[in-house]
Symmetry: C2
Subunit: 171 residues, 2 copies
Amino acid sequence: MNVDSSGDRPYRADMPANGQGFLDSYLPYLLRQADQTLSAPFYDTLNHYGVARSEWRVLAVLHELGDLGVKDLANAALSPQPTVTHALRRLEARGLVIRTQGTQDKRQRLVSVTATGKELTQNLINQAKALETDQLAQADDLTDLIAQLKSLTATVEARSQQLAQNATQAG
Amino acid sequence: MNVDSSGDRPYRADMPANGQGFLDSYLPYLLRQADQTLSAPFYDTLNHYGVARSEWRVLAVLHELGDLGVKDLANAALSPQPTVTHALRRLEARGLVIRTQGTQDKRQRLVSVTATGKELTQNLINQAKALETDQLAQADDLTDLIAQLKSLTATVEARSQQLAQNATQAG
DNA sequence: TAAATAAACATTCATATGAATGTTGACAGC
DNA sequence: GCTGTCAACATTCATATGAATGTTTATTTA
C-alpha cells in the first residue's frame, strides 16, 4: 500500500505492495476509492452550480424515474429519508422541484421537477457524461465491471433480505 | 429501474428494466450502491462501538500502514485533512491514538495507535471480515472484480494526474 | 541570511447529515 | 364508527463534515 506523501492528490491513495493487508482487498474500501476518484471532478461541477450532493442524487433519480414519493426517492437516491426531505426543501425553495399532495394516499407527497429543474438536471447529467467519457477513454471495457457490480449488489441484497426474514420469524 | 415501494430496505434500490437510463449505468452510482449494500451491517457495528465512520477509516489505515503523518493518513483514508484531524482529536480523547511531534519535520504529527486502540481496531476488523465472509458466501468469485476496480482507479487517477500536469504547464 | 513562498497541521464556522421523534393519514380488527 | 397499529413524511436537534483560513516550520530565492 503506497500512500504517496509527495504528490498533491487529496481523497485518493494507491495501495499495491506491502503484502496482503486487510484494506487492500476490502471491497467497501475499493468501491469508495473508485467512486471518489471518478466523482472528484464532477463535484467541482456541483459546486459551481451550488448543488449539494444529496440534491444531485435526488434530481438524477427523478430524471431517471419521473415523479416519485419521498420514500421511493430516498431508496433510489441511496439516502436516508430525512436527508432527502431536507434536500427537497432546498430544491423547492429554488424552484427546481414541487411537492404535491398524493391523490390516493394523502400522506404521500409526489415530487416532480419543474422546467427550470429539468434544465439544470440535464446540464448536470451532460457534464457527468462528458467527464466520465473522458475519464474512461483509457480504461478497459466496463460492461463486465458493471455487470459484476449489479450482480454483487443483488446477491448481497438478497442475503440481507433473507436474514431479515429469519429475524422476523424468530421474533 | 425498480424502486420497490413496499419492502423495508432503506439506502438501497434495484434498477433493472426501464430501458437504458442514465443512472442505470453510471459507475459512481453503482459503486456507491454496492458500497452501501455491503457496508450497511457493519455500520451497525460501528454504532455499537461508538465509532464514527471517519474514525474507523483512520483506524483501519493505521492498522494497515502503521504510524503515519496526517496528510498521508488523510490520503489513505479517502478523507479530507480537516475531517481526519477532527477524527484524531476524538480518538485521542478516547485514548485510542496518540500524536507525537515529527522528528525530522516539526510540523508533522506522527499518529500511532495505543494498545487499547489496537484492540478495538482488531475487533472491528474481525467483525468486518466476518460480515463480509457471510455476505459474499453466495457471491461469485471476486478476484476479478477487485482487480478491475484497482485497475479502474489507477487508470482514472493517472488520467487526472495528466490533466493536472497539463494545467500546470499551461497556467 | 533575510525574505518570500510553500507545506503540514489545526481551527473556525457555516452547513449537510441523519437518528430520534413528531404529525398526519391509512387501515385492520372489533 | 372506534381504537390500536402502522406507514409516509416533516421536524428537531446533536453532530460530522469540509471549505476557508490561520499558525508554525521548511524550503527556496534573492
